[in-house]
Symmetry: C2
Subunit: 338 residues, 2 copies
DNA sequence: AGGGTTTGATAAACCGGTATAGCTCCCGAA
DNA sequence: TTCGGGAGCTATACCGGTTTATCAAACCCT
C-alpha cells in the first residue's frame, strides 16, 4: 500500500474514520485503549496526514510565509537573512509548520503576493521585515485579516504583533562608547530613511549629541550599498575637520568605508575609529577587525515565529515582544582619537 | 462574499460546478460562449483556486521544496544561496508555483524532511544542492519516487536530472591564466572533499600541473570556513619555497587568505597572486579587489527550476543541462610573480 | 428516416481529512 | 424502576476543487 489513509487505519483497527481522527488528534471521543491501539497501527503503517486534505477541512494550512522585497542584487551579502530564516524555522519546526519564502523586487509585488496567498489559502500567516515609515503592507494585511508579525519595528499603532530590538538604545550605546573614548566628531553613515530603524538610529544620534558634548554628529543617508557607503566615507574624510569616528548602519558599508580609509591613507583605528551596526563574518575577516553591534538574529527569528503562531491561534492577540538588547563587540577598529 | 468558490460561480452563471471547472482549466466540455461567460464572471468575482482543494483532487501541490543542509553559522555569507533562490523563484513564478525552503543541520535531517514532505504531499519535487560523492540523498529520492533535480553535479549514474556548470573547465582556466602570467608554484586551498565539485576542482589542478610545467600544485582541503582558509594560507606562506599564487575554492576563504598575507607582510599581488573561485561583493570590497571566477548563479537557479518542472510533468525525463561557463573576472589581486 | 457519433452539459463520486449529529450502552441518582 | 446523562463510537455531511459516467440534443451519413 502506497500511502495509508485514515480509512485504511480505520479498517485495520475495525473502527470508523471518525474514531481514528479523534485518536490521532488527541481529542476526546475514544477510550484510552482504543486510542493506543489506533496509534500503534498508524505508527506501524507509517501514516502521515495529507497536508492538503487537512487544510481543506480545517482552515489551517500549517504553513507561513515570508516575503523579502529587495532587488536580488543587494541580497545575500549580509548573513542577516540567512540567520533570521534559520531562527524562524527553528521556531516553526516544533509544530512542524513549513515556511514559504519569496524574494520579490519591490513592496508592490510583495503586497500582490499577500493577496494571492490569502485567496489561495496558501499560508496561515506572514512575517514582515524591513518595516518602513507608514508601511502600506500593514493596512493591506489588516484588510486581508491575515495574521502577521512585524520584525524590527512596532506594527503601526499597535495594529500588528511585532518583535523588535531597541535600535535607539543600541545606537546610544555606540555613541556613548565613542564619546567615552574621547571622540567629539562622530559621523553616522545611515541607511535608507524610509526604513523605521534607520529613522530611529538617526534620531538617537541627534538626541545624544548635545548631551555628550559632540561637536558634530551628522547622519548621512545612503541606499545601504557598498558603493554609497564608500562614496559617503570619501566625502567625510575629505573634509577639513573630518570626523575621528564613523558609525555605519551595516557591516557591508563599514567594510567599504574601511577600504576607502586605507586607500586615503587614513589609519584605522589611529586616525579613524569605525563601528558597524551589524555584526557578521565580514567584520571579523577585516584587518583590523571591526568593532560591531551584535544582535542575536537567530533568536530574533525564533521569537518572531513563536509570536506568529500565537497570533494565528488567536488573531485578537497583539504582542509587542522586545528581544534581547544588542551588545557591542569591541574589536580592533576603535581607539581613542590621536 | 468572502472568497468565492466555483459553486458560487456556477450558480451565478447558471451552470454546474463541472462546467465551471472545465472552463477555468481550458479543457473541452463547454462551448466557447459559455467558457467566456464563466471566465468573465470568475474574473469579476475575483475567484482564485483554493490550493488545498486543488491539491486534494489532483495530486499536484504546485509547490516545490529546497533543503539546505548547513549549520546556520556558516550560512549566508556567500551571496550564492540568495542568488540561487531568486533564480529558482523566477523560474517557478511563471507557473505560480511556490517554494518551500528549509535549512537543516545535516544530511540526515535533510533526508528526514524529504520523507515527511513526500508522505504529507507537501511538494511536487525538490531541488538538491551541495552534491557529495556517493550522495545518499539520490538513492532516497529515487526510492521515494520524488521528482528532483540536482544542482552542480551529475545526478548519480544519470538517475536524477541535473543542472551543472563545468567546474573542471573553470579551474583549468584559472590555472592556465596563472601559468600564463608566469607562475610555477600554485597552491589550491580547496573545500571539503566530500563535495563532488571539490573533487572535480582538485583533479583539474592535478591534471593540468604537468602540462603547464608547474613545479608544485598542492590542493589542500578545508571545511570552507574562514578560519581554516586562514590557517592553511599561513602554513603555505611559511614554507621555504612558498607558492607565488593561491587559488581559493570560495570567496570567504580568499578574503581570509588575503588578510593572512597582509598580516605576514606578503604583498598582494606583488609577492602573491590570489584568485577566488566564487565571486561576490566580498571580493570586490577588498583592497586589492580579488580576481575571481564569476558564475551566473541566478540563471543557474532559474534553469534548475525549469528542469524540475519538466521532470514533474514527466517523471521519466532525465535532463542533464549544462549551464553557461563561468568566466574569470580579473581584478587587482593577480600579477606576474616578482 | 433511422441509427450512430459528436457536442455541451449535468449529476455524482472522489480526494483525505475534520466536525457534528445521533445512537447505544452503562452507571448513578431519584 | 426509571430516567438523565455521559462515555464511546458510528454515520454522514462537508471543505472546494477535479473527474467520470451519463444523458439529451444536435448533427451526419447513407
Amino acid at each position: 500500500m502506497a500511502r495509508p489513509t485514515i480509512a485504511d487505519i480505520a479498517q485495520r483497527a475495525g473502527v470508523s474514520k471518525g474514531a481514528v481522527s479523534f485518536a490521532l488528534n488527541g481529542r476526546p471521543g475514544v477510550s484510552e485503549a482504543t486510542r493506543e491501539r489506533i496509534l500503534r497501527i498508524a505508527e506501524q503503517m507509517a501514516w502521515r496526514p495529507h497536508s492538503a486534505a487537512r487544510a481543506l477541512g480545517a482552515s489551517r494550512v500549517d504553513s507561513v510565509g515570508m516575503v523579502i522585497a529587495r532587488p536580488a542584487r543587494t541580497l545575500g551579502v549580509e548573513p542577516f537573512f540567512a540567520h533570521l530564516l534559520s531562527g524562524v524555522q527553528s521556531g516553526l519546526s516544533a509544530e512542524s509548520i513549513s515556511l514559504q519564502l519569496l524574494i520579490v523586487e519591490d513592496t508592490e509585488a510583495e503586497i500582490e503576493v499577500y493577496r494571492r496567498w490569502n485567496s489561495e489559502h496558501r499560508v496561515d500567516g506572514v512575517i514582515l521585515v524591513d518595516l518602513t515609515v507608514r508601511d502600506p503592507r500593514i493596512d493591506e494585511l489588516k484588510a486581508l485579516e491575515m495574521p502577521a508579525v512585524v520584525i524590527g519595528g512596532r506594527g503601526g499603532k499597535g495594529q500588528l504583533a511585532s518583535v523588535w530590538a531597541d535600535d535607539r538604545d543600541a545606537m546610544l550605546t555606540i555613541v556613548e562608547y565613542l564619546a567615552a573614548l574621547g571622540h567629539r566628531r562622530i559621523a553616522h553613515v545611515a541607511g535608507t530613511p524610509v526604513f523605521q530603524h534607520t529613522q530611529r538610529r538617526i534620531r538617537a544620534v541627534r538626541d545624544a549629541a548635545p548631551r555628550l558634548g559632540l561637536l558634530d554628529a551628522p547622519s548621512l543617508t545612503t541606499d545601504f550599498s557598498d558603493a554609497e557607503g564608500a562614496a559617503t566615507t570619501r566625502r567625510l574624510l575629505a573634509q577639513a575637520d573630518r570626523p575621528t569616528a564613523i558609525v555605519y548602519d551595516s557591516d557591508v558599508m563599514a567594510v567599504a568605508g574601511l577600504g576607502v580609509a586605507m586607500e586615503m591613507g587614513v589609519s584605522v583605528p589611529g586616525d579613524l575609529s569605525i563601528v558597524a551596526f551589524d555584526d557578521s563574518i565580514l567584520t571579523q575577516l577585516m584587518h583590523p577587525a571591526l568593532t560591531a553591534m551584535s544582535r542575536d538574529t537567530f533568536d530574533f527569528g525564533r521569537q518572531a515565529a513563536e509570536v506568529l503562531l500565537e497570533v494565528i491561534a488567536d488573531p485578537a492577540t497583539v504582542v509587542n515582544r522586545r528581544t534581547a538588547d544588542p551588545v557591542l563587540t569591541v574589536r580592533e577598529s576603535t581607539a581613542p582619537p590621536s
